[in-house]
Symmetry: C2
Subunit: 111 residues, 2 copies
């Protein structure tokens, strides 16, 4: 199971600039220049960030005519969700078992 992908995705989203990019791309595709506008950094730096997001599969840029817009790939959210929910669920089951155990001990004291 794409552990390496998960690593790339988490790492990609660990950067505030890249998270902001994703947030803005959730509202719609954008050209690199539009994306870069709010940031006080060179265009090359923005391209670097985009490459990180691309290699993580968070974002794609269709081949074609030149201002190639940046597109958010929503399915990466499913990937993270999968990981998170799996572990959240296990932890919560554990709590339920503990609660059940405590309830049992309470129902049947001093055995």
């Amino acid at each position: 199971m794409a552990a390496d992908t998960l690593t790339r995705v988490f790492a990609a989203l660990a950067d505030p600039t890249r998270r902001d990019m994703v947030a803005r791309l959730a509202a719609g595709d954008a050209t690199v220049n539009q994306l870069a506008e709010p940031y006080r950094m060179t265009l090359q730096a923005v391209y670097k960030h985009l490459r990180v997001l691309e290699e993580a599969g968070v974002v794609t840029r269709p081949a074609g005519p030149q201002p190639r817009p940046v597109h958010l790939e929503v399915q990466v959210f499913d990937l993270m969700d999968g990981w998170i929910e799996r572990h959240r669920r296990r932890a919560e089951q554990r709590y339920r078992r503990l609660d059940a155990l405590l309830a049992e001990m309470e129902a049947e004291p001093d055995v």
Copy 2:
């Protein structure tokens, strides 16, 4: 809104070793030695990983008698979930609007 916390959490989970720790802690609390056992790295390295997880709020270690067990803080999952769902929803709404637009154009051709 704790952007810095989100950064720390994503960064903490961007490491495979730390993700594995979280996965194992979802099954139940563990002492540092138990946690460290599968990894081919020094105990100090494990403590370093734990500090990263602690500072991100992913994990706590209750003060008290000495082998202080490591405990997974499940609510960080809510934090990530919040961020993910917020953006996923926005992106999906966009798709729905686009679909509606396309349907409209199809219903009323050549206008």
